[in-house]
């Protein structure tokens, strides 16, 4: 802390005064203490003198009463006699301290009294303290004081035992009051006497003497000590009190002395001392002022040189006017100037280098003092944030602008603090690599990495603007994310591998039917194991650097067939991209499309043919029937014609019979009917009518059909249909559907019968245990279709059979067992009449599954 010479001088003077005061204070304490002891000692002597006076006073009264007692006893007067009354009068009159004297008998009754008390004769004082106490002790008794009703004087009662009687005297305290007043007169003390109750009975204090004042403080002291000293307050004054308790009469002598009176002289000396101190103080001021003038003169010259120095002007020095002591100092100063000059030049060069470095460095630099004041910022700092040293003065001010959001500012400042502490403890430039969002003067937010260092009590802060780098990085990340999203959104499994077959990128698409999930590099092996030709094709693509495609790879998983296309694309000697597509649905659709096209063509062809065949067929059937009718004896025209010709009809029939002509005609009839039945079915292939549709439950129709078929089969084939395990998986919430009930029943009967036939065939051929099972399921697909699946575990079929199964007259049954039209009719009932679809899947030797989809209106 800097102080002026004047200040130091004043400080020194005050110090001197303070030590003087302390000295005076302790001196006074010692003097007061000694004086107090002396005063108490003097007062004790005075108390002893007063105690002698009181003793004499007491003795005098006792002696007089003793004398009176003796006179009465010697004269052998009875206390009641007139002469005793006279004697008491004489005594009372002779001594002015007696207000009255009386004699009490052994019962406390007044038997005799001086004039003033004569009316008391006959009174009983048996219960008065002076009677009871004297009677008990046999010794003289001094009562407490009281104000006499008769004389209005402060009085007390003295009781003196006289054989069985007691002499009682009322004594006024006027005499002793006067004596005490004499002692106190012309002195600074107040002497008093207090009775046994602490009441002032004698004192030169006017008020206390007249009042019934109890000295409570004294009573307290008396409880501890019968004689001693204490101090008390009286208004603003302090009183020194000495006291002595007199055991024989229970009085206390007390001397009060005001402290002010005792210490008057000392206080006077004290005032003189204070006066002296003030004079000393003034003199010191005058002297110091004189000295200061000279000092200032020397100092002025010195300061002038220093001023020049501070403005960068170096002088060689010279002589200085004023105090001699300053010249020597001035010489040192001049030498110092030269030294500073050369060092300054070095610093300037160094600073120039630093500035050049600092201004060209691509990072912002800020330097602040420990008080937070900004000392320096480089050009990059200014270009980064827009603030120069004149715009912001402190780190706090800059922080307010750089972090306008208060919450972020507080967080950032805490991080700053933490980093600065680390920098201080490590002793080197420190950055934890945190990126701060700093708002520039133009309101642009920059991403800045900040490093800290503390040196020479200055904080060096380096601001590295990473905004562009971070923006670019964000762009890259964004692009990468976008590409990932594109790849991930693709419904194909895409795998990019390098030349070492390490997976570089994959979208992890879950390819339907793939028995494992492709998740990481190792899974490529799973893939090549599963698709055995893949490895070979990959190598081929690598070598040729051309795209290779493997089409319609068929795989079966859990009874379902899956078809895949695999495309392999080489990436300019950097590896391959493998794309796997699930084409199962696409295949199925394509197959169905072909089937539909085919069936429509066939349907139309068959219907056209049937129509053309129908007319000649009708002529054949009709001809056959007419032939049989014209051979019948029931027709009169036949008999008439035979009679006309003279031929017996019976003979003709016999002839035809013997030549099997009739059986030929029957053959024509039955074959014609069969052909008519086929033609009738074929005509249905192209019929599209809604007539006869009704709302029914598919589940109920299925149940009805299964029951019907079971019964039918039992009878015809002698096969126990109950051996077939029928599993029904019906969806309970199927809506009613508008269909031609009998046609759909026909469809289900066809399919169930075919299934049963297949399973019987397999059962008869099977050498191992075989459990036939028919699964019938219904469910509702999202949208407005009801799906019916009928699956058996019979003999199944080959792919070539499967593809032709719906064609008319195509059958796998033995000749004569089926017409080959059952499934064709089924197909057209579903697709033409009900606008639905039917498909079949099968594994040869294992199972067959028909799937029917029927649309319904919601």
């Amino acid at each position: 802390m800097n102080r002026s010479i004047k200040g130091i001088f004043l400080y020194t003077v005050l110090l001197v005064v303070l030590f003087n005061l302390i000295f005076v204070f302790f001196s006074l304490v010692m003097i007061f203490s000694q004086m107090k002891k002396y005063v108490y000692k003097q007062n004790k002597i005075l108390i002893n003198s007063i105690s002698i006076i009181i003793d004499n006073y007491y003795e005098e009264k006792i002696n007089i009463l003793n004398n009176l007692s003796k006179i009465i006893t010697i004269r052998k007067n009875t206390p009641q006699s007139v002469s005793v009354n006279t004697l008491l009068d004489t005594y009372a009159d002779s001594y002015d301290f007696f207000d009255g004297i009386m004699i009490l008998d052994e019962y406390g009754t007044v038997v005799s009294a001086s004039k003033i008390l004569v009316s008391s004769v006959g009174f009983s004082y048996a219960r008065s303290e002076f009677f009871t106490e004297t009677k008990k002790s046999g010794k003289p008794f001094w009562s407490k004081s009281f104000v006499s009703n008769e004389t209005s004087n402060r009085s007390l009662t003295v009781a003196f035992p006289m054989n069985e009687y007691i002499i009682v005297a009322y004594i006024n305290l006027v005499v002793i009051e006067e004596k005490i007043a004499d002692i106190s007169k012309e002195s600074s003390i107040t002497a008093s006497i207090l009775d046994r109750n602490g009441v002032y009975i004698v004192t030169d204090k006017a008020f206390y003497a007249e009042s019934y004042k109890v000295d409570v403080e004294l009573l307290k002291e008396l409880k501890i000590n019968k004689s001693g000293v204490f101090e008390r307050k009286s208004g603003k004054n302090k009183i020194l009190v000495s006291y002595l308790y007199l055991e024989n009469i229970h009085w206390t002598i007390i001397i009060d002395q005001e402290e002010e009176d005792v210490f008057f002289v000392v206080r006077q000396i004290n005032y003189i001392q204070f006066g002296y101190l003030i004079v000393l103080l003034v003199m010191l001021f005058v002297m110091s002022n004189n000295l200061l003038v000279k000092f200032n003169k020397s100092l002025a010259g010195f300061v002038k040189s220093m001023d020049r120095l501070s403005s960068g002007e170096y002088s060689e020095g010279g002589a200085l006017s004023g105090l001699y002591e300053f010249q020597q100092l001035y010489d040192y100063f001049n030498r110092m100037q030269m030294s500073i000059k050369s060092r300054e030049e070095e610093i300037r060069q160094s600073e120039k280098k630093f500035r050049s470095l600092s201004e060209n460095i691509p990072v912002g630099i800020g330097v602040a003092g420990l008080d937070g004041k900004l000392i320096y910022v480089n050009a990059k700092f200014v270009s980064l944030f827009g603030y120069d040293i004149g715009d912001v003065h402190t780190v706090t001010e800059w922080s307010l602008k750089a972090y306008p959001d208060e919450k972020y500012r507080i967080e950032s400042e805490l991080l700053w603090k933490s980093d600065i502490e680390t920098a201080v403890s490590s002793g080197v430039m420190y950055s934890k690599g945190r990126i701060y969002k700093i708002v520039t003067k133009d309101g642009i937010v920059r991403d800045v990495e900040i490093s800290f260092s503390l040196a020479n009590n200055e904080l060096y802060v380096v601001f590295n603007d990473l905004s562009d780098a971070i923006a670019m990085s964000r762009e890259l990340v964004s692009t990468k994310n976008y590409l990932n999203k594109v790849i991930n959104s693709m419904q194909s499994l895409i795998i990019a591998v390098d030349n070492k077959r390490n997976v570089v990128i994959t979208n992890n698409f879950k390819l339907p039917g793939l028995p494992f999930e492709f998740e990481n590099t190792n899974d490529l092996k799973h893939l090549t194991d599963y698709f055995t030709e893949l490895e070979k094709k990959m190598n081929e693509s690598c070598v040729t650097q051309e795209m290779v495609i493997i089409e319609s790879l068929k795989k079966q998983e859990k009874g379902v067939f899956y078809y895949y296309d695999i495309s392999i694309y080489p990436i300019e000697n950097e590896g391959l991209v493998i794309v796997l597509d699930d084409i199962t649905e696409k295949n199925r659709f394509r197959e169905m499309l072909v089937q539909t096209e085919k069936m429509v063509t066939i349907g139309e062809l068959a219907a056209g043919m049937a129509h053309e065949i129908n007319n000649p067929l009708a002529a054949i059937i009709q001809g056959g029937q007419n032939m049989m009718r014209r051979l019948s004896s029931e027709l009169p025209a036949n008999l008439e014609t035979c009679n006309e010709l003279g031929i017996s009809l019976e003979q003709i029939n016999e002839y035809l019979k013997r030549r099997n002509i009739l059986s030929y005609i029957d053959g024509i009839n039955s074959s014609g009917k069969r052909a008519a039945y086929i033609v009738s079915n074929m005509l249905n292939f192209s019929r599209k009518s809604n007539a006869g549709k009704e709302d029914v439950s598919i589940n109920e129709i299925l149940d009805f059909t299964i029951n019907l078929t079971c019964t039918d089969y039992d009878i015809e084939k002698k096969y126990d249909f109950k051996q077939i395990n029928i599993v029904k998986n019906y969806s309970p919430d199927l809506p009613l559907i508008s269909i031609k009930k009998t046609e759909i029943e026909q469809v289900f009967i066809n399919l169930i019968k075919n299934a049963a036939f297949s399973m019987i065939e397999k059962a008869t051929q099977s050498v191992t245990e075989y459990k036939p099972e028919l699964q019938v399921s219904t469910f509702r697909e999202i949208g407005s279709e009801i799906i019916i699946v009928i699956q058996d575990n019979g003999g199944g079929m080959t792919d070539s059979v499967r593809k032709r199964i719906f064609e008319p007259f195509f059958t796998t049954k033995p000749v004569g067992v089926g017409t080959g039209l059952g499934l064709t009719v089924t197909y057209f009932i579903i697709t033409q009449t009900h606008k639905g679809s039917i498909s079949v899947e099968s594994l040869d030797g294992e199972w067959t599954k028909f799937t029917i989809k029927l649309p319904f209106e919601t």
Partner: protein, 362 residues
């Protein structure tokens, strides 16, 4: 170092600064014949304020009692009130006879200084909206209690003897006593004692002897009543003596000896109260003053309690409003009520003397 020196100087400057005190005036006879009453009242008040100051005073301020001695001369009362008023008392405790009370009432109203009286019980002070507040019941209750007792025994003829210096007090008691006694009573003589008569009561005794009334109602101080009883005993007057609460104290028995046996007294407080609150007060009083308190000491103490309660409630220096806001306060022996005119409401007790001891008449 410099801080230390500055601190030292500051301490020097601060030394001697004191805190404010509340000033309470006390007026009463500290000398003359009324001194036993006045001094005991003052002692009681001092005892309470001493306790209060030791426990921290009122809101941290000490209470100082400023005394003024009426010297048993009623016409000095006004002068004394003025004296304590000029010395800065905010409120005055008066320990006065009813005779002194009249002067006090006039002066207090004139100076507008509220005053609490420990002992004034004159009936002419009750029912007034003035600056005088009391913690005692009005005097007519004393007369009523004594009259009812006399009527119960069947006394018909009455002599009355009272102190001229406390005439207003005595006459209220006398009137209520006679009213209570009923219509068939007969007042044989009503004697007003002057100062000479008080010194020699023989002539008075002769009159009383001649009248031989059933009951003598003596309304005087304890020493005068003791002397009266001594003379009556000597003259063999057989009338039953009844006394007001003014004389019920140890000095009566001490100065009256056997002559005061069987006399009847009304008391403003319970003499042999074993309740802890009274015992505590009594012992404390003895500890300080070397003697046991009489009613005057007790009432002085209770007046001080009342004054302190008032000072605690004072806002904006308005002592009168604070006084009026107190409707009841807990005294040493009982809950003391203060009516709308600032008059005390409390229970009284009857006593007689048997074998030199006061015995309560249930």
């Amino acid at each position: 170092m410099s801080k230390f020196i500055t601190l030292f100087f500051l301490l020097f400057l601060l030394t001697g600064c004191g805190s404010k005190t509340y000033k309470v005036g006390f007026i009463g006879s500290l000398s003359g014949s009324g001194a036993p009453l006045g001094a005991n009242g003052r002692n009681g008040a001092l005892l309470y304020f001493d306790e209060l100051n030791k426990s921290g005073g009122i809101n941290g301020r000490r209470v100082e009692l400023i005394e003024a001695d009426v010297q048993s001369m009623p016409d000095k009362t006004g002068e004394c009130i003025e004296d304590v008023y000029n010395k800065g008392a905010a409120i005055v405790i008066g320990h006065l006879t009813s005779g002194e009370g009249l002067e006090a009432q006039i002066k207090a109203n004139q100076l507008k200084i509220p005053m609490i009286s420990a002992t004034i019980s004159g009936d002419n002070f009750s029912g007034l909206d003035d600056y005088l507040f009391r913690i005692t019941s009005s005097n007519d209750y004393q007369g009523k209690y004594l009259g009812a007792y006399a009527k119960k025994i069947g006394y018909k003829t009455v002599n009355i003897i009272y102190d001229i210096d406390n005439k207003s007090f005595a006459e209220v008691i006398m009137n209520s006593f006679l009213n209570e006694l009923g219509n068939d009573k007969r007042v044989l003589n009503s004697i007003i004692l002057n100062n000479d008569q008080k010194k020699d009561l023989n002539e008075v005794a002769d009159i009383l002897y001649k009248d031989n009334a059933d009951v003598i109602l003596a309304i005087n101080d304890s020493v005068t009543n003791a002397k009266l009883c001594q003379v009556l005993r000597k003259k063999k007057v057989t009338s039953r003596v009844m006394m007001s609460a003014w004389s019920i104290m140890g000095a009566l028995i001490e100065n009256g000896g056997e002559s005061v046996e069987d006399t009847v007294h009304v008391s403003l407080f319970l003499l042999h109260d074993n309740e802890p609150s009274y015992q505590k007060f009594k012992n404390k009083y003895f500890e300080v003053y070397n003697e046991y308190p009489n009613f005057s000491g007790l009432f002085g103490y209770e007046s001080a309690q009342y004054a302190a309660e008032v000072l605690k409630r004072v806002k904006n220096n308005d002592v009168l409003t604070a006084l009026k806001s107190i409707k009841t306060f807990q005294g040493v022996q009982q809950q003391i009520g203060i009516d709308e005119f600032g008059d005390g409401v409390r229970e009284l007790y009857l006593y007689t003397i048997k074998n030199g001891q006061f015995k309560r008449i249930e």
